[in-house]
Amino acid sequence: MSLLGILQAQAPPKQDATSTIQTLCLRLSTSTLLEDRRAAIMGLRSFAREYKETVASGGLRGLISTLSKDSEDVDTIKVVLETLLLLFVKDESNSESSEDIALWLTDEFTQKQENITVLIELVQDSDFYIRLYALQLLVAILNNRPSRTQECILTAPLGISRLVSALDDKRDAIRNEGILLIINLSNGHTDIQKLIAFENAFERMFSIIELEGGVDGGIIVQDCLQLLNNLLSFNVSNQSYFRETGCVPRLAKLFQFAQEPVPSYAKGQSDTNIEYAMRVCRLFVVPGGLGAAANQNAFFGAGILHLMLVIAFSGFSDFPVRAEALRTVADLIHENSLLQENFAQMKVQYLDPTILPEVQAQQNNPDDLCYVIEGLLDLALLNSSIHAFDARLAACRCLESYFAGNQPVRLHFLNHAINLHAQGDESANVLTCLINLDQDSRGDPYRVWLASVIFLHLIYSDEEAKNLATSFKEGDADAGEEVVTVIQSISANLVAALEHNYDPRIIIGYLMLLCTWLFEDSPAVDDFLNEASSVQSLVSTVKQSSNSNVLIQGLCAFFLGILYEFSHKDSPLPRATLHPILASRMGRDHYVNKVTKLRENPQVRDFEVFRETNRRKRKIGLPEVYFDHTFIDFLKDNYSRVLRAIDKDPGLETHNTINGIPHALNGISVELVDSLKAQLEDKDEELQKLQTTCLTLEQKITQEQHESQRTKEAAAAEVQKANAATEALRLQYDVELRATAQKARSEINGLEGQIQRTRWEASEAARKAKEYGDSEVAGLRRRVAESEAATEKEKAERAGEVQRAKAEGEKAIEEVTSRLHSAEKEALFAHESLRKSEEHARESDQRLKTSEEALKAANERIASLEEGSRRQKSEATILQEALTAAQSRLEECTKQQAASEAQIKDLETTLRALEASLIKEQSTHVRILHEAQESAAALEVRVKELDARLSDAEHARKEADEAAKQSAAELDDLFIVLGDLEEKREGDKVFFPFAVCEIYSG
């Protein structure tokens, strides 16, 4: 028992941690004073490291709600964030810590949108720690529930833009945390990637990278490049945004660093950064990608291709960097013929492949240049350093991309290789490496392997290239040398490699090349089968039971399958001979077993999956790389076909091409073909015979044709005659018709003239009558007015005189009172006579009225006359209509004539029909003529009708005249009346002075 134990025993009972935490949590959630809450939180923070579970279960909600409740209090917020971060930290040594707590914490945040929003708002805070902790919390949350958190941040108002703005913070810690956060945030979410990109992220990243000093800038630059990687991978929209906003030159700028030794302490990070930057480049030019071609051109324009080559062929670059640079180059020129041609013209620094890299750096000489293709071949074929393998493979990929989709380039390259080989040139040469399996090659098995792969890409699925390669022969027959083809050399090397158990990579390399070469190429198969011992060697390899390599046995079997599939009965080793060797000596089941084993081998089966990782996982010794990806595709595509090949009957040939032209016989028995050939010859003879009879027959036919021609001509003449007759008839008829029509038309014209004249005369008469009436009426009116005025004047005069008489009478009364009565009587008399004269005036007024009525009647007459003339006009239009009807008849006639012409054409078909129809035609003509005459007659009737109408019109005119006369008579009456009136007036005048005299006398 230690002293501590004794002390502990004496000490007062200790507080239980759990209950303390519970108390603190209670205080946090119930305290109203900020200070109390802050104290509780600080207490919780002390427990958070040790008692994660208890603190989390009791206090988490309170802590989170404090974030929004006490957001103004920087100190409290800071402590809360610290506590939360502590809860997130996983602590292996603490038994209370578990991943579930962190997960639970995450869910508390992500299940409630407002909690994330609060955190995002805290990122805006100016306080260093609050900003930093909030970012760290978001990173932790994102790590635990990535997709859910991404959605929350996306939903939060201005979420993305607020977080991206952390990148502008001048404080490095915050900026770097911001980069980490955005790396996590952008991972695998296309929409967020776009939003981040539109927050000017590319610009910001490049600014930070430049600030940090480019690729020499340490891990922050790596993070920036990682972020670019996240934003651009498989995001075509962001890629084009990047390209269009001029970021490609800025990316290119990263590769413009001086080629000089980098201090060893910085080398690792610098190389990583360069590789990351290259990976960003490669994202744009993924083979087959949507915008790949546009990106390739943009990158080439920015000089990236050139910069890559400089890095790839710099003595200061390490092999991993060189490999990545070459892979980038491969993607940059893949299937882009323009860039492929440009590429071939480029020059790079010459590096002696036989010198160690360390020495290369010392001998760095940028002025010693060679063509890039030579450089690549040197690297791929002659550099035997084990560290160089990745770079060699990448160089091989570069060449593959250079060939891809460009046949002229392939043929050129192949021709060049053949020429150099024939000349015995010492430079790196694919063909030489394949043919010369010397000591060096055996020491570096990848030399043959890479040469095989490059050659495979040269001839793969390219008939022309295959033919060119097959036709090349070596050896001078005149000098007694054996003439051998490339296939024969290779098969000899293969047999040697199999017998002496060379490195499997050499054997696999040769076999890959032969499989793709001989596939669907029977001449090449024949070439191989010239040496029967090669087949024996292959068969014995497949049969070997001890010390066997599954890949080699499987490939040998696969190759034998191809040999059999494309051999034929005329092959040096005929199908019929080859089949028992395979099916019996090797064994059909054995064959199937080996090919299946090959297919099932992880190296083949999972090739695509482990392609990248395999290379990195290698331990000591040679890399575990056996296959080329094109060959694996080829194998998988054709696996089942080759597997089934062995079950085919030797009599059945599959596919046979000679110089690229399919030679029929697709799956057809050869014997059948032979019998068919014999039949064909018989048929040919028969055909000959038939052709001679055919000739004589043809001669007869021509004679017949002549005769028929003659009769035809005679018939044609007759037809012509008949035609002429018809024509004459038609002409005659035409003339008649025209004459009739002319006559009718002139008659109609005459009639129209008459109608016009009559109408004019009638209207003229009416007009005159009306004018005359009008003037008379006006005169009458004037006279009436005059007479009225005269009457009025007389009245006034009379009134004046009466008054005077009265005055005189009164005077006479005054003077002579005795004569009063008689004077009164006289006055009465005068009055009476006055009344009489007034009656006269009234009478004259009445007369005037009657004369006006008479005038009205005259006007009415005139109107009726005008109506009559209008009726005449309408009749005239009816007549015109009749005329047009006649004209339409005429047109009908011409139409019928056209029909007759058509019939004439019909007549020409046969002679007999012609005559019959001729008669018919004539009769039709007669009928038509008759009809025309009839229509002429009808016209004449019309004309008569018109005459009648004309007489009617004249009659109407007479009536109008009479009416005019009548109105004139009435006028005369009026005059008489007027005369009476004047007489009366005269009478009145005579009478009045007499009355005055009477008064005077009275």
């Binding site: 502990q8 200790k14 507080q15 941690a17 303390t20 108390t23 603190l24 104290a39 509780a40 600080m42 207490g43 919780l44 923070r45 002390s46 427990f47 040790e50 579970e53 208890t54 279960s57 040594s93 603490n94 038994s95 209370e96 578990s98 991943e99 579930d100 997960l103 639970w104 869910d107 508390e108 299940q111 409630k112 529930r145 859910r148």
Partner: protein
């Protein structure tokens, strides 16, 4: 002062929404019943130390109870808590037959995500409701449990507290039996079992700090 437990075991409560999973947890951890409990959002958790037998020196197991949301919308979240569970309470509502039939799906999901040796207890909750509202007979549930390889079945009432303690004690004991019979590899975290190796108490420093924080 040693930690008051010898083992920590992770237990998950699963079952349809509204079966009373949260009420069971609250009843066990806090000894109360809330008749108007809100629907669980995501996951809640609580813990309770349970002695494995009645003797005063009995070893104690701390049950870390993860109370999951039953609603379908939280399924994606709750599922990630199944991993590493040592025990599970598969809860259904005896007055709603559908919750019992869904137990099959829950069991499938649990077995798909959790460790193979997980101790599962079938719990029929709301047994206080009486026989007239009962839709799932005891016998049927027991038979189903046996048929699906579930070792224990109990009916509980979070409202009255009946059977609740029993359910969790059953669970703890089975886990303890498994620990003792060496079913779990205690070094392997995937079982969700942790042994109390750190038998240290709070140091004096930390205590002072705590006090300072409290007052």
């Amino acid at each position: 002062m040693p930690q008051p437990w010898d083992y920590i075991a992770k237990v998950v409560n699963i079952g349809d929404s509204g079966c009373g999973k949260s009420s069971l947890t609250i009843r066990l951890c806090e000894g109360r019943f809330n008749p108007t409990h809100d629907v669980t959002i995501g996951v809640e958790f609580g813990s309770r130390i349970i002695p494995v037998d009645t003797s005063p020196t009995a070893q104690k197991i701390k049950l870390q109870i993860w109370d999951t949301a039953g609603q379908e919308s939280f399924r994606a979240i709750t599922k990630s808590y199944f991993r590493g569970a040592t025990g599970a309470l598969l809860v259904y509502d005896i007055s709603r037959r559908a919750t019992f039939t869904h137990a099959t799906e829950w069991l499938e999901e649990l077995r798909g995500a959790a460790d193979a040796n997980i101790s599962i207890i079938l719990v029929g909750n709301k047994c206080d409701l009486g026989n007239d509202k009962r839709e799932v007979p005891i016998e049927e549930a027991r038979a189903w449990a046996e048929g699906n390889g579930i070792k224990a079945f109990v009916e509980t009432s979070a409202k009255t507290g009946e059977g609740v303690e029993e359910a969790f004690v059953d669970c703890a004991r089975e886990i303890y039996r498994n620990i003792k019979s060496g079913v779990y590899d205690l070094n392997d975290k995937s079982h969700g079992i942790k042994t109390n190796t750190a038998k240290t108490s709070l140091s004096m420093d930390e205590q002072t700090k705590v006090r300072g924080g409290c007052c």
